[in-house]
């Protein structure tokens, strides 16, 4: 295949960025988008030019490291699929594909296509955990969690933290991410003691870091983990519950 890759180049957060066009030849439809970048980089290095920086790691769709915007869409043309599992067979031979970083006010560009998504971890740091020390846990069989609830918790826990939801949102909101984590932890019996405190703090930090949600739902289309839109309702539910209860749990 032959593709023109129009790629965002930016040296660092402090510098200005611009698009540059590159001709990629000899790629096959079985290439992933990231392997196409690998090949392009090999080409650039052999010509003594700067290779394109981008984040990726497991290349199996589970680590959440990768994430680029492809023709205006986070991760690329195939729905609910991370960048590392998008293939060139989605593009017509000879076409032009535009690659840019995940766009969001709170994602600073590190270099080229790599961005800083540490805001997502600051939300977890605000309460997305269970305050249980090593060695103090009760027998896991001593509390019951029905099969259905365990499966539901897992549906919500499936988030890979790629941050595409934020990049897809016209508001730049992280509510799909926040809701998924709140509902996951609210379902687990061992983590309920701090349920209200968690909701309050995580929502506060999410609003500071990212924006409010207007229920556009574009996050759901790009989410590689298939987090459902009901996770967004979870943000309001957990927050309202905290206000009405007025207690830590």
């Amino acid at each position: 295949m032959k593709l023109t890759l129009q790629i965002w180049r930016q040296d660092s957060a402090a510098s200005e960025g611009h698009y540059e066009d590159y001709l990629l030849v000899g790629a096959g439809p079985e290439f992933t988008l990231l392997e196409a970048l690998d090949k392009l980089n090999d080409q650039l290095v052999s010509e003594g030019k700067e290779p394109v920086a981008f984040d990726s790691d497991c290349r199996e769709g589970i680590c959440g490291s990768c994430g680029i915007t492809v023709d205006g869409r986070p991760h690329g043309p195939v729905e609910k699929t991370p960048s590392c599992r998008q293939h060139l067979r989605s593009f017509a031979d000879g076409s032009t594909v535009r690659l840019e970083p995940f766009r969001n006010g709170s994602y600073r560009v590190v270099r080229d296509l790599a961005v800083d998504r540490s805001g997502l971890d600051r939300i977890i740091k605000a309460g997305g955990y269970a305050s249980i020390d090593a060695g103090t846990a009760p027998d896991a069989d001593a509390h019951h969690l029905t099969h259905e609830k365990a499966e539901y918790a897992l549906d919500m826990a499936a988030c890979i933290g790629c941050g595409a939801c934020v990049a897809a949102c016209p508001n730049g909101s992280a509510n799909l991410y926040v809701g998924a984590k709140l509902l996951h932890l609210a379902t687990m019996p061992s983590t309920k003691a701090e349920r209200s405190t968690r909701a309050k703090e995580m929502v506060r930090v999410a609003e500071e870091e990212f924006g409010p949600c207007s229920l556009y739902g574009e996050c759901v289309d790009v989410c590689p983990a298939g987090i459902p839109i009901t996770a967004i309702a979870g943000v309001n539910r957990e927050k309202l519950r905290q206000v009405l209860r007025g207690m830590a749990d």
Partner: protein, 664 residues
Amino acid sequence: MTLADTGTRVRPAAEAQLLDGLRTIGSDIAGMIPSDVPAAEFWTDRKLHYKLVSPLNRRKFTVIVVGTGLAGAGCAAALGELGYNVEAFTFHDAPRRAHSVAAQGGINAARGRKVDGDSLARFVKDTIKGGDFRAREVDAWRLAEESIRVIDHMDAIGAPFAREYGGQLATRSFGGVQVSRTYYTRGQTGQQLQVAASQALLRQVARGSVNLHTRTEMLDLIVEDGRAAGIVARNLITGEITAHTAHAVVLATGGYGNVFFKSTLAKNSNVTAAFRAHRRGAYFANPAFIQFHPTSLPVSSEWQSKTILMSESLRNDGRIWVPKTPGDTRDPNTIPEEERDYYLERRYPAFGNLTPRDVASRAARDEIVAGRGVGPLKNAVYLDFRDAIGRLGRKVIEERYGNLFEMYTDATGEDPYVVPMRIAPGAHFAMGGLWNDYDQMTSIPGLFVGGEAGWGYHGANRLGANSLLSACVDGWFTLPYAVPHYLADLLGSPKPALDAPEVAGALDDARGGVERLTAIGGTQGPDRFHRRLGDLLYQHCGVSRDGELLAEGIRSVQALREEFWSDLRVQGQTDGFNQELERAGRVADYLDMAELMCLDALDRDESCGAHFRTEHQHPDGEAKRDDENWRFASAWERGADGRYIRHQEPLEFVSVPLETRNYK
């Protein structure tokens, strides 16, 4: 009797000569304090004798933990909870991304709740046998004992383990065992454990007990007065190289499988932290032990960046075959039954397609080498569901394996319901690693190791679902006892000063190392060398090895290394985000690592589990261990003359008597 059956053979002169030029034989080493306590009670006894640090004194100690996977995040969080100052380092932008996240199947625990006959002793037996008697027995006992509360802890911090309809934890079985002791969360067990562990870590970051350095890579170990005193690290965004000192250092930096380039590991997993500690004096144990997973996707193009793993559960219903005629390029569905060779069913009638990983990988490689490989590059074998679909219907197969079939389609563009899958052996889990004693301490006092970066538990072969377990146990329930025991003696001594000569020396070395790479000014980027190194290793130090191949491998690695140091090109600047520079440093270490792997494989003149020397096999083609001569772990030290020194840790098997593995 042929030479291959005798077990001991005389090393050919050329092989012996090459070995002598590369290594000398050193002293035996002990991994544990001699004791009369039975293996089953060893851990309880050891914990009783560990020294403690009182809660008020803990904040006087700083511990560096490198890596935030299951072992690293667990260790950093647990030490933080206890009250130590912890400096945690990861090259990722977030701790959750460590490669533990990718493990699918499950985590073993010897809870023995069911009436299927499981127990601590059976867990130990399965683990020792799975490791083909090249692991330390008392370590397996500890792993078994702590596995019980690991499940409780991971459940409590948020891992949503699968549950039965009545609300109890669910289990399933896994390869190499006949009981049901694997706890799981669908096919995302690693992810759920990793997310829970990284949340626990972030809780300590919020509390201020852990200082987390993201996008920071360890470049060197600082050793002062023979003790680990800190690390040198590079900030991957700014390029700044700085020293960090501590009373103890824990490396939980994962395995070295990426030396093969195309492996099932994440792209950035590397050996640099462990290898540079090895350069500073830490022994490297059993580097030849690499597990090849039999159901990886074959390489489909020159530019493929890695191999993807398909769950080996597929072998429950899929039948593995190749065409009987070499070079048969017909559409597989048109190849008649009598022209197919279901070689695993033929060779292993009892286990059939469910033979252990090393056996299945070796058999596939034999077929491929004999010219019967399939696919465009003739580098795969078929995994065929035609008969299962015919017998059970498509719907049942969809329910059992639907997500895996989708994954296959996604990766290859082919529909496995219609065309047989193509699979091939891929480099997977590293069973070698930095040598550590029973207290997880390396040969450098104060330097500890956890998870896949170490060598413990699994030996020459390994059980699936024991690796998540060992990483969790090391992080949460072994290191938090062993590290304080070491620290207790250091009460009153400050952590090393940043202006100490050893610190400045290590900093200079690290900066010099970066300059050395960038100064070459050659023509080829680091990835080109890495790809070639990987091909070379698959060929010479892969699924099956022999002395001649390995000797040739060593010479080829040396030649490639020479080319690397004369023709490498590192594009870009050193004072910023430069992924080429990161890769260059890692490939430099891989080249040395590859040489050590080949050396260890050439030296270990026996077959055991995944280390299969074709010179040592039973008449039926099974691995032939040589317990008389090789019942020890090799721990390699880098000698002053450039040669390696092989130390031996003799291995005792008391509770699990030595026996031959048999899966027929």
